[in-house]
Every structure is written in structure tokens, then in C-alpha cells.
């Protein structure tokens, strides 16, 4: 390791500037980022499944169109993030394989099933709400491509959270049955959403170093508190009860006190023992395998078209092909 390079890296971090793809960086910084960005990308891709489950059964055409757009956004977020990860020298194919064979993880939250339409609302309001609290600080992460991807993602996530709130708001103003359905969804998604912020600071393995490198700006517990403080007043407007009897406002600290999620459950779900882990990965593997012919056909077509173009421009048959961007570059 060259100490001048190390110094330049540390000075950039200290100046709150960004590290860019071809800059020198410590191997551990690179590895940490690859793991975090890949896990984040995988979460977006797997996260399409619980909501995709309801596209065909959305209650109205408008709700269906909105949900389709949201799930399409999740695919887009996954792709922005894979692109950011690739700037660190890994290939998307490799990352995808690591997801499929279980070497890389995705967020534990997507291993819970979506049992009713209200779950789609609860996911938007709570899960995307938690994701936003987690992700906004990442827009100022020290790695440039990741930070830039996060800026795009956060802009789009706010639509997601509002559409979830809107679904629940409509339900809680509906029939008794619809209100009960909304409450049931909130009951089931509340603690898994709290667990999305990860283990408590005292036992979080990566927090300290990631904060020193400015990959992470705030600790898990800090963000979890921020989320609770944000959600409680919204729950009142919705007219749903958060399933925590210990929830109370502490006037001294200005924060809501709450029961932490069951971290044993979190670790069990992360290690593969959640309600839907097997289903999620099986579905992803099947989609990957059944889509293989499309990827292969596209490559074959591109090769054929390139060969045809080459034979045309080398012969005398017709003018050369126009450049792809004729007058824009000039």
C-alpha cells in the first residue's frame, strides 16, 4: 500500500468529498461497498415479488397502474445500484449469481408474505418509509456512484410512500371490514419494518468502520428512532394503532419510546428461516432460468445485425450506415 495514496484517500474522506471509481481506495472499503450496494440492489429486485403478488388483484384499474409503476421503479432501482456496484470492478452477472446461490443477502423484510391488499399499503407506508429514512443519508455517501444512484432512488421512493399511505387512508375511511384489514396489515408489518434498520448499535458489526469511511452517516438505532418519530403522528391521521403498548412520548427527550423489534427473529430471517425466504429465491431462480433464452436470442440477433451491417458497408451495395447521433455531436 502506497502511503501517499492512502493519505489522498483519507484527505478526500475528511474533506467530505467523494471517492470516484478509478481513485485508489483501500481493498476493505471496496469490499464493504460491493457487499452493501449488491445487497441493496438484490433487495430492490426481490422486493418486486411481495407487491407483484397483488398487481393482478388490485381493486381498481388506477390502483393496478400505480402498483405496476411502483414495481417497475423497484426494478429500476435495482439496476441503478447494480450499475454503481459494477464501477467497483465486479460484474452484474457475478452479483446475480451470488444472489441466486445464496452467497449474498437481501433485506429481511421481503421474506414476509403479502396476505391482503392492505399489505400493499402497509409496505408503501412503513417499509418504503423506513427505506427512505435509511436511504436519504446515503445520498451523501462517500462513494460517488452510490450517492448519485441514491439521489435518484430517494426522489422516486417518496411517490412509493405516499401511494402506500393513500391506500391505507382510503381503507381506514371505508367499511369496518376494510378498517380491520388495514389494522391487521399494520400489526403484521410494524415490527419487521423496525427491524429493517438492522441490529442495535451495540452489536452491529460494520457500523463503526462504515461511519469512519462516511459510507454510513448515522447509526441503526438513531435512524430507527427517527423513523418511529416520523410514523407515530402519521398513524394518528390514518386512524390505525401501532401494535406497541409501550409506545409513549417522552417530553424530556422529545422522542417516542418504543419496544424494539425481536432481533432473534431478524437474525433467523436473515439466515434463511423467514416465512417466505425459499419462495422468494426459488421464484428469482426460475425467472432467471426461464429468461435465459431471451438474453441469448438478443445476443444472437445483435451478432447477426452487426455482421449484416459489416458486409453492407464493406461492399458497394448502398451508402454507409448513418452514425447513431448524426447532428447532435457536431
Amino acid at each position: 500500500m502506497d502511503s501517499a495514496e492512502q493519505e489522498a484517500f483519507e484527505a478526500t474522506i475528511a474533506a467530505d468529498s467523494t471517492i470516484e471509481p478509478r481513485d485508489w481506495m483501500p481493498e476493505e472499503y471496496r469490499r464493504t461497498l460491493i457487499r452493501q450496494i449488491a445487497q441493496h440492489a438484490h433487495s430492490e429486485i426481490i422486493g418486486m415479488q411481495p407487491e407483484g403478488n397483488w398487481i393482478g388483484r388490485a381493486p381498481t384499474l388506477a390502483r393496478k397502474a400505480i402498483l405496476l409503476a411502483k414495481v417497475q421503479d423497484e426494478a429500476g432501482h435495482g439496476l441503478y445500484l447494480y450499475a454503481a456496484a459494477e464501477t467497483l470492478g465486479v460484474s452484474r452477472d457475478d452479483l446475480e449469481r451470488r444472489l441466486l446461490d445464496g452467497r449474498q443477502k437481501y433485506s429481511s423484510i421481503f421474506n414476509y408474505p403479502t396476505l391482503t391488499w392492505a399489505d400493499v399499503g402497509a409496505i408503501g407506508w412503513l417499509v418504503d418509509g423506513a427505506a427512505i429514512v435509511n436511504q436519504v443519508p446515503l445520498c451523501r455517501c462517500s462513494y460517488g456512484p452510490y450517492a448519485r444512484a441514491m439521489i435518484r432512488i430517494c426522489k422516486e421512493e417518496s411517490f412509493h410512500q405516499r401511494q402506500g399511505f393513500d391506500i391505507l387512508y382510503t381503507l381506514t375511511r371505508g367499511t369496518d371490514e376494510q378498517r380491520a384489514m388495514a389494522q391487521d396489515a399494520v400489526d403484521r408489518w410494524w415490527y419487521p419494518s423496525l427491524a429493517m434498520f438492522g441490529p442495535p448499535d451495540a452489536i452491529s458489526t460494520h457500523t463503526e468502520r462504515s461511519m469512519a469511511w462516511r459510507i454510513k452517516r448515522f447509526s441503526n438505532d438513531h435512524l430507527r428512532q427517527k423513523f418511529v418519530d416520523m410514523i407515530v403522528p402519521q398513524a394518528e391521521v390514518l386512524g390505525v394503532r401501532l401494535p406497541d403498548p409501550a409506545l409513549r412520548f417522552n417530553a424530556k427527550t422529545g422522542h417516542w419510546e418504543f419496544t424494539p423489534p425481536d432481533y432473534d427473529e431478524l437474525f433467523a430471517v436473515i439466515s434463511g428461516r423467514g416465512p417466505a425466504n425459499r419462495q422468494r429465491l426459488t421464484h428469482r431462480r426460475t425467472a432467471y432460468e426461464e429468461g435465459a433464452w431471451v438474453r441469448e436470442a438478443a445476443v444472437a440477433y445483435a451478432a447477426k445485425a452487426a455482421a449484416r451491417a459489416a458486409s453492407q458497408s464493406s461492399g458497394t451495395a448502398g451508402p454507409p450506415r448513418a452514425p447513431a447521433v448524426p447532428d447532435e455531436v457536431a
Partner: protein, 92 residues
């Protein structure tokens, strides 16, 4: 089997230059354009897109950043502020 990597540039509006927005994989230029539209302009972010094979880009090396850009640093006479302007001269 992996598709080649393309860098994507979007012109956000008339009168503005294309700006790099990210990258994607596609089998050929036409598909790269279509993917770029779906991936980077879902909310009217652009009026024009360029896709460029990532392999076709030649970049300056960050290791040589200092010597490479140094020649600009000692030519302060390229900046208008280098020249003293006598009092009373306006619009110069």
C-alpha cells in the same frame, strides 16, 4: 452470457448539454437506447439520449491527475481577474 456495458447520457431539456446519468447492459445500440429510456427517463427527465459502448471511452487517469492538469494552474492570465482595470472603466 453477458451483454456489453453502455454509458448513458441524457439531455434534460433543450439548451442543455447531455449529462452522464449511469450505465446499463444491452446486446446492441438500439436495445441500449430502449433500456436507457425505460431506466433513466421514466419521469420526463430527458428529451434526448446518447448511449456509448463503455469500452469506447478513453479516460484520463486519476493517478496522473496532478501533472495532467498542472499546465492550466500557472496560466493565471487566462482569467479576466488577472488584469487590473483602472477606476472609472465600466463594462470591460
Amino acid at each position: 452470457m453477458s451483454w456489453p456495458l453502455w454509458e448513458v447520457f441524457v439531455r434534460p431539456g433543450r439548451g442543455l448539454a447531455h449529462t452522464h446519468v449511469g450505465s446499463l447492459h444491452a446486446p446492441d445500440a438500439e436495445m441500449a437506447l430502449r433500456h436507457a429510456r425505460d431506466l433513466y427517463t421514466r419521469r420526463g427527465e430527458g428529451v434526448s439520449i446518447w448511449v456509448v459502448p463503455a469500452a469506447a471511452i478513453t479516460a484520463s487517469s486519476p493517478d496522473e491527475k496532478d501533472p495532467f492538469f498542472a499546465p492550466a494552474a500557472d496560466k493565471i492570465y487566462r482569467h479576466p481577474t488577472f488584469y487590473p482595470v483602472p477606476e472609472g472603466v465600466e463594462q470591460l
